[in-house]
């Protein structure tokens, strides 16, 4: 089965935070759950970079403060969600 980019994007969150798919919504922001602290953020960035084979810019890494914002940022790397 080939995963869509959105599915891959979602999986990165699920992997990084070990959370349930139901938590993937607009309310998911940095520090809104205990798994998304600075440590979790590192795992998330690593997952996204591996998944899409990209190297994110510093500003994008610290800007990625919510599930929704991340979608916007990822598209900058020529990935269509």
């Amino acid at each position: 089965m080939i995963l869509s980019n959105l599915e891959k994007y979602n999986n990165a969150f699920l992997e990084a935070f070990g959370i349930d798919e139901s938590k993937l919504n607009a309310g998911l922001t940095y520090q809104s759950i205990k798994e998304w602290d600075s440590v979790g953020h590192m795992s998330l960035i690593a997952e996204l970079e591996d998944t899409f084979d990209i190297m994110m810019e510093t500003d994008d890494i610290i800007d990625l403060s919510s599930y929704e914002k991340g979608k916007e940022i990822i598209t900058k790397y020529d990935i269509e969600l």
């Binding site: 440590v39 590192m42 795992s43 510093t58 610290i62």
Partner: protein, 466 residues
């Protein structure tokens, strides 16, 4: 009682002591006036819980207590509620200085979002004359074991650090660590004592607000634990343009040789100094540093003892090691070696139990030029994101919940071995929530039985690599 640097801060008058995360500048004069006002609400030397974040109220309360010889126990506001209750019950503080609604008691004073509350405990604490403050040994597992620091300890370590880092009035340190953590506290102490400025923020390095504040307020330095440097690597620190930063320090655990070398080289290229240090709360904060000129050629070393301190290595027979590259327990001597531990109210009356000599529990070697290297540990604990986590305490917490388990692992990665497959997820969540540390630090592993010797002791060596 000796006078500490906090008594002579008045000399800095209108200089800026603190900058808040909204950019408000607070002079030494204002800081001391608020600090003394808070402390004056307390009639005499007693025990106070000081719940500290990186904000003005926390610092003001803390400095006020220290100036008035009131003894604070510094507590991280993120502490688990049950563990806080246990700590309070054990030490029965007369007052608590904490964010609104944190603690129970009668309100005596409020400043900003903080309140000074008189507790209902009637305990009369017998406090040793030289006792200045108390720090938790492992904030995360909530062990009520505290480190007892004296006025002399603080004075000596503060001045020694200022000397080797050459901290001056023009320095502006931005906070990256909690104040209840000895490394974070030492950054506050040294910068205030030098008449410098501390930029206060609880924002993480992974947030935009941290870096904007650093740039706007032109921070000259900050400190980091190994995990901080992992984050900075991920953030491609090498490509960041931070001209105000003149030097970085690292402590709170062993930085890998690779990362150490990488940051030494980045800093050298950017004209910044990178200083690896080593310490423990049992030695107030700092015991050694690697002079920055040696950062690259001696990467991986904890350097040399701080000014006025001394290292020796002792072998298993208690003999002093004189040859290089021979492993022994690292022993430190200096005025910053703390008085000892406290595990109960009664222990607060205890005097100096160490007499200036600390057995660090770390195994080390030195090279031909006298630079020290940590090679292992005598005690069973891990450093997780800079926090010391005692493995026996974690095991105790899990066992008290009825889990049959053994705990091991390496720094930043704890392994919990359980004999019931159904508990794999539970133990991870339980420990993560108790310690407040990200679940990523914990792995649970199923094993059929816990390996033990004839006398029932767990064979931890057998668990390695499982």
């Amino acid at each position: 009682m000796r006078v500490t640097f906090v008594k002579s801060l008045d000399q800095y008058g209108n200089r800026t002591a603190l900058i808040t995360d909204t950019g408000v500048e607070i002079s030494y004069r204002t800081l001391l006036s608020v600090a003394d006002k808070i402390a004056r609400m307390i009639e005499k030397r007693c025990l106070v819980f000081c719940v500290c974040s990186n904000n003005f109220e926390s610092v003001a309360g803390y400095i006020g207590f220290l100036r008035a010889q009131i003894v604070p126990i510094l507590i991280n506001p993120d502490i688990d509620t049950d563990l806080y209750t246990e700590l309070e019950g054990t030490y029965q503080p007369s007052y608590v200085w904490a964010p609104k609604n944190f603690a129970k008691g009668t309100l005596s004073y409020a400043h900003g979002n903080y309140e000074l509350k008189k507790t209902s405990y009637n305990a009369v604490h017998e406090l040793y004359d030289e006792l200045a403050l108390l720090l938790t040994t492992s904030g995360s597992t909530g062990s009520p074991k505290l480190v007892r620091q004296s006025y002399k300890n603080i004075e000596s370590n503060t001045h020694s650090i200022i000397e080797y880092l050459n901290i001056t009035e023009i320095d502006r340190a931005i906070t990256t660590l909690p104040l209840s953590y000895t490394y974070g506290l030492s950054i506050l102490h040294t910068h205030l004592a030098a008449g410098a400025t501390v930029i206060l923020t609880d924002a993480s390095l992974m947030s935009k607000s941290f870096w904007s504040l650093l740039k706007e307020q032109k921070a000259t330095t900050f400190g980091g634990v190994p995990y901080t440097y992992e984050m900075m690597k991920k953030l491609r620190f090498t490509r960041m343009d931070l001209p105000s930063l003149t030097y970085l320090t690292q402590a709170g655990g062993k930085l890998s040789k690779e990362l150490s070398l990488e940051f030494s080289e980045i800093c050298a290229k950017q004209g910044k100094r990178f200083i690896v240090m080593y310490g423990q709360s049992e030695a107030t904060a700092r015991m050694s540093y690697l002079p920055w000129k040696y950062a690259i050629i001696k990467a991986g070393s904890i350097g040399i003892a701080i000014p006025h301190g001394k290292f020796t290595l002792v072998d298993a027979n208690g003999e002093i090691i004189t040859a290089p590259h021979v492993t022994g327990e690292l022993i430190y001597e200096g005025d910053n070696v703390t008085l000892g531990y406290a595990e109960s109210i009664e222990d607060l009356a205890k005097g100096d139990e160490r007499h200036g000599v600390l057995q660090t529990g770390d195994m080390a070697e030195f090279d031909e030029e006298g630079f020290f290297y940590i090679v292992g540990r005598k005690k069973r604990f891990l450093k997780i994101f800079g926090n010391r986590v005692n493995l026996d305490e974690v095991e105790g917490l899990l066992k008290s919940k009825g889990y049959n388990c053994a705990v091991g692992g390496v720094d930043d990665h704890m392994k919990i071995f359980v004999t019931d497959e159904r508990q794999l997820e539970d133990v991870k969540h339980f420990i993560s929530s108790k310690t407040g540390l990200n679940p990523a630090a914990f792995t649970s592993v199923y094993i059929e039985s816990i390996p033990r010797n004839e006398s029932g002791k767990i064979l931890y060596a057998h668990l390695e690599g499982m």
